[in-house]
Symmetry: C2
Subunit: 205 residues, 2 copies
């Protein structure tokens, strides 16, 4: 099975790159679908599932602290339960066939399936420009707010990652290829990475 | 002018990758030639030039400290003079035509010529294996010595780099593409990177 995992800095265009990559290679593409499926299966709100998965590990400590029973039975809305479900779901999806998976620590969770691990990043200015362009469609956001959002989301990703890996999130040692998108059209970069990935899987046989 | 700069961890295979890349793209390849030319022009020993360029900045401080004239006239063996000569030589070579340049902080020195900046790295185990294979041809070296050598050379590169850039040496933010060579044949990787580079320069027009 040929699996590509895309880890990315917020605003770097990693999601778009992953989506195009999947299209170019004819691979399945998994992103929000993962959260939607998890939420559906647990009959929970998608936003709740997202927050629980991303900050649940930390939130869980004060939540259970002081409870009469420290080891509460696992419930569908328990972050640890959701994480186990997410891991199961990622494995199931990966076993179905070639795919590109965005985020969700799939690079670590699917390690045994030897994914081709890509990290996508960019300069802060480039990320701000991309965020501005996206935000403009809905409502304008000032740079200070965007910077805070970028920092906050990347920090969340880093924290979550740190629970599963010896390498820090974004540390190039943890990836096979790190792609800087600053000043480059994602479309062109996707073509380049698609060719790289094809050769990668071909060499593996 | 299409310029590729290769920065690399010692033992990662970056030099071989750069050499193959130049061959595949039909670019000129500059590596030791730079030191040889500098040494020849200054009528100095090549090893002296290498050491002066790599550790000269630090060595220079105690050398001039305490001298009656703090601002000594520049002499051919003065590290600062050699660095200026190196900068000039790099520019001259880059202006001659498409090329791949290994190390020498060419990524920073030629910044204004917009080089495609690649960083090549690998896991410590992979680097040790590569060093062992190379060393075997001459005389076997134990792992502790190799590890020390890798650390020492990479530190020298980092120190030298720090004098010229706000980004730390090896920090992915300072490069366009970071390539992990762990467990991959350099030949295959070179093909992949060559294609990537071709598309890169083509997109730039």
């Amino acid at each position: 099975m040929n699996i590509i995992t895309i880890s990315r800095e917020f605003g770097s265009g990693g999601r778009e790159l992953g989506k195009r990559l999947a299209g170019l290679l004819g691979f399945a593409y998994y992103d929000r679908e993962i959260l939607t499926t998890l939420a559906h299966n647990a009959a929970l709100d998608e936003t709740y599932v997202e927050t629980a998965l991303e900050t649940g590990w930390l939130a869980r400590i004060p939540l259970t602290f002081g409870a009469s029973f420290t080891y509460l039975p696992s419930t569908p809305h328990d972050p640890a339960h959701l994480l186990r479900e997410e891991n199961k779901l990622l494995r199931t999806l990966a076993q179905r066939g070639d795919c590109v998976i965005i985020g969700r620590n799939a690079d670590l969770i699917l390690q045994s399936m030897e994914p081709f691990k890509i990290f996508v990043y960019a300069d802060l200015e480039a990320k701000l420009a991309r965020c501005r362009a996206h935000a403009a469609k809905e409502e304008p956001v000032d740079d200070a707010t965007l910077k805070r959002k970028i920092r906050q989301l990347d920090k969340q990703r880093a924290n979550h990652h740190a629970l599963l890996s010896a390498h820090a999130w974004g540390d190039k040692a943890g990836y096979h290829l790190c792609v800087n998108t600053t000043g480059r059209p994602i479309k062109t970069l996707s073509d380049q990475v698609a060719h790289y990935a094809r050769a990668w899987f071909a060499a593996r046989g």
